[in-house]
């Protein structure tokens, strides 16, 4: 009966968040104990972004052929709603079955980085032409 905050600690841990005493700068409810995967147990509401919940091990794919081996390529499409001045195209990850209107890229476009998550087996693009906040959405392999 002593440790009544145990479940509260687990919830905090699953969100990747912490509460700090503003005077002493010490973390309250610092997690200590057995880890339980709460992602299946807790269905977190919209206010907690997924970014902080999942644990990831992200590496950068330098070689474009690594992407091709995963049956994916980068394709470009003309934009109607640009998010910066003089923007013409938008980069997207697609299968080798290219949709209509998309352009095939044999090499990695300039200014685009490819990130691969080992744990969750997901992939995404980073760059100016990918999305307004420079980060593309994760795509499941």
């Amino acid at each position: 009966m002593k440790h009544i905050h145990h479940f509260a600690k687990l919830v905090l841990k699953s969100q990747g968040k912490a509460i700090i005493n503003s005077r002493t700068e010490k973390t309250l409810l610092k997690f200590a104990g057995n880890t339980v995967d709460l992602r299946k147990f807790l269905k977190l509401p919209h206010m907690f972004p997924e970014e902080n919940v999942t644990t990831r091990k992200v590496i950068e794919l330098g070689d474009y052929n690594d992407l091709k081996r995963k049956n994916l390529i980068v394709s470009s499409i003309q934009t109607t709603t640009p998010w910066f001045a003089s923007q013409k195209v938008r980069y997207i990850l697609t299968d080798k079955r290219i949709p209509r209107g998309h352009q095939y890229w044999d090499n990695c476009p300039h200014g685009v980085k490819i990130q691969f998550d080992k744990v969750n087996n997901v992939i995404r693009l980073l760059g100016r032409n990918v999305s307004p906040n420079f980060i593309g959405p994760w795509r499941q392999l």
Binding site: H3, I4, H5, A8, K17, P45, N52
Partner: protein, 471 residues
């Protein structure tokens, strides 16, 4: 020999996903629910002692947290009842009942808070101590201190006192500003009483504010921020139009040296504090999806109990209208009052009754919901009584209680007598709006009629007063 027709026909159960809050089971074996509406309701549960009031309220709180996922604050725990809520429900009977409706036992993430004052007896289990910020204490001096005319003198000289670190310093500052020595003395005498009581963070190390922070990777915030500042700006200069991911100030904040307050969680990636914001402890815990519980067992006998509750409610009301995070996400807040007549009633004409009236009356635009429990429905404040949208009545023996319920909720004479003859865990549910009812066939319909039935068990463990062994 074969029968031509099979009399007993077995039906396979069909799952139906519902958005409403299941509350009780009807006499016709139907599931009665409260609809998830835009307006926050005021829900009251009334009845005699040991009739199943708090049991039903507990089950509602569990489902508000797990199904609706809305922040909830338990404002007064009088009898250490809520300790067991941190564990999942373990009784076999209740788990079987829950399984009927496709539910499973789940714990609640409660955090216990104790108000800090002199000679408080602290418990064995986990807890945090609460204190009032000294600024607020001085600003709301007429509520805390017994000042009559000299309160205005204190208000005028507030800004000169704020920086002081001892009562002697305050006295020096005040004597410089106020010519009449008697006024200074009366202020100091009443102020010293409360400073010695260690209510505020003036001389105690209890929590007055809490910082809430997220662990966020710098890569997630800004992918090219790991480069040097000049290089990043040269490559990606600030744009003229279109949505900018982060402002210049935010960008500078993360690149500055010595900002690495957080520690790296995963190897290979840099993690930083982001979205660091300051709240009072009750709201700070609630923002992180935890349920704060304020224990008022020892506080309620004190003189300053009502002014303390005034402070807590005032902060929550201001937070709903002014805080950026709560207003942009349009987050609601539920307040749970156990034994509400101890805080606000017809006989207690204190500051807290005004605040509770304010929540009941104008809580709709502020997105504030109320849950209250009482044994004495007659003594509940008239405005709070008239604003209740859902009322669940358990058994009463006094006729006067049943009559006031009949007058408020427009019941018939037969239903008034039914309140007096209810058994344990039997409820009469009434509304000024409507219930949503699911029949065993899976049909959904809405009614305004009163519902008689049995309350559902809670998902987390409900504490019993004692255990008895039958020999």
């Amino acid at each position: 020999m074969k029968f031509a027709y099979q009399f007993t026909e077995k039906k396979e159960p069909v799952t139906i996903w519902i958005n409403e809050l299941p509350v009780m089971v009807n006499e016709a074996n139907e599931l009665v629910c409260i609809p998830h509406s835009i307006d926050m309701p005021v829900i009251g549960t009334v009845g005699k002692r040991a009739s199943g009031k708090s049991y039903m309220n507990h089950s509602m709180i569990d489902r508000i947290y797990w199904y609706w996922k809305e922040p909830l604050l338990c404002m007064n725990d009088l009898t250490h009842e809520l300790i067991s809520w941190g564990r999942a429900n373990s009784s076999k009977q209740q788990i079987e009942l829950l399984a009927k409706y496709g539910e499973s036992p789940k714990p609640l993430p409660i955090v216990y808070l104790y108000p800090h004052f002199k000679n408080i007896i602290l418990p064995d289990h986990d807890f945090y101590e609460l204190s009032i910020p000294f600024e607020f204490f001085l600003q709301s001096a007429p509520y805390f201190l017994d000042l009559k005319k000299s309160a205005d003198h204190l208000k005028l000289n507030l800004k000169y006192i704020m920086h002081c670190k001892s009562p002697e310093e305050i006295q020096e500052e005040l004597s410089l500003r106020i010519k009449n020595k008697n006024i200074v003395q009366t202020i100091m005498v009443s102020l010293r009483k409360y400073v010695d009581e260690e209510l505020t963070d003036f001389n105690s190390n209890a929590l007055s504010y809490v910082d809430v922070g997220d662990y966020a990777s710098m890569a997630a915030m800004y992918p090219y921020a790991e480069m040097e500042e000049d290089k990043a700006r040269r490559l990606y200069p600030p744009r003229k139009y279109g949505p900018i991911p982060f402002t210049k100030e935010q960008f500078d904040y993360f690149l500055e040296d010595g900002r690495e307050i957080g520690y790296p969680i995963e190897s290979g990636l840099k993690y930083y504090w982001s979205n660091r914001s300051r709240y009072t402890p009750m709201l700070g815990f609630a923002r992180q999806n935890l349920i704060p519980v304020l224990n008022t067992e020892q506080l309620r006998s004190k003189k300053y109990f009502h002014s303390y509750m005034y402070y807590l409610l005032d902060v929550i009301i201001n937070n709903q209208s002014r805080d950026k995070y709560w207003s942009t996400n349009s987050l609601p807040v539920w307040l749970f009052f156990d034994e509400v007549t101890r805080v606000a009633s017809t006989t207690l004409k204190k500051e807290t009754t005004d605040k509770l009236r304010e929540i009941a009356q104008s809580g709709r635009p502020l997105r504030m919901g109320l849950l209250y429990v009482t044994q004495d429905y007659v003594k509940v404040d008239s405005i709070l009584r008239s604003q209740t949208t859902y009322l669940f009545s358990f058994r009463f023996t006094a006729k006067s209680q049943a009559k006031t319920i009949r007058d408020d909720m427009h019941l018939s004479e037969y239903e008034e007598e039914e309140i007096l003859s209810l058994r344990k865990h039997e409820v009469l549910g009434m509304t000024s709006e409507h219930f949503v009812v699911y029949s065993p066939d899976g049909q959904r319909y809405e009614t305004e009629k009163t519902q008689k039935g049995i309350s559902l068990p809670p998902l987390s463990e409900h504490s019993r007063p004692r255990s008895i062994t039958h020999t």
